[in-house]
Symmetry: C2
Subunit: 148 residues, 2 copies
């Protein structure tokens, strides 16, 4: 029913219980879908993929689960302009690169010192909690969805 490695499952369970939330079949399924093809799908795409394996799941549940996973910091929500949100199961700091031609998003590994060095740009008194970096342009051809 769900395809989720043991390590992924315990990663999920820990994150959920850390937030006082329950592990459910649907949450596992959604997380599994995201891990299986790391191509930053939209909620609709996640819904379609989840239904193949769990035909009775509802779209509302997909939204709920995605939101939950984002809350637990297991998943990131990406927004490009006003397009539908996309979801990325890569916790860990990284940037994103949007290919203008094929519309794909690639994860970009950030150097260790990135956050602190970019933070130096800010005038005194600004206290940073998060930095988001997004590139747009052309990705090299023949690349999988993930360059990390």
């Amino acid at each position: 029913m769900v395809t989720l490695s043991n390590t992924a499952k315990s990663h999920l369970d820990e994150a959920l219980s850390r937030s006082g939330l329950r592990s459910t079949r649907q949450r596992e399924q959604i997380y599994a879908v995201l891990l299986k093809r790391r191509d930053h799908p939209t909620a609709d795409e996640v819904y379609a993929r989840a239904k193949e394996v769990m035909p009775t799941i509802s779209l509302a549940t997909v939204y709920n689960c995605l939101e939950t996973l984002v809350e637990c910091s297991l998943v990131k929500r990406l927004n490009y302009e006003r397009e539908p949100s996309r979801f990325c199961p890569n916790d860990g700091e990284h940037a994103h690169f949007l290919d203008e031609v094929n519309g794909r998003v690639y994860d970009i590994l950030l150097p260790e010192d990135f956050q602190e060095s970019v933070t130096k740009i800010l005038p005194d008194g600004f206290e940073v909690k998060k930095v988001k970096v997004t590139f747009t342009g052309y990705a090299p051809k023949g690349l999988d969805t993930n360059s990390l």
Copy 2:
């Protein structure tokens, strides 16, 4: 009717004609509204401010004009998550800082070499056209909406 300095007006006219577009009262008004209070308003807020001075302007026109100004690179559209777009009349490269407490957005000046240095992060073969940097956190108190 419209408050737009001569330099701002010619800036607008040039940008419009460069794109083969006409200068209209409404476009001038919208641009004037953005320049007057540089607080990154939403389309609705722009609409409200424009109506004070041009009561017959329509919301559709506000959307059209904003879109046009963005197309001419006079204005930037900002998106935070799925919130309504905000608009920034600061052409020129800069980052944005969103204050989590008061919801305000501050423009952040970027160093000259920023784009090229951040581009080095990318693996070979990625061709960058645009970099977007967004900070979230707490801005220093007692700051106007613009730190530039």
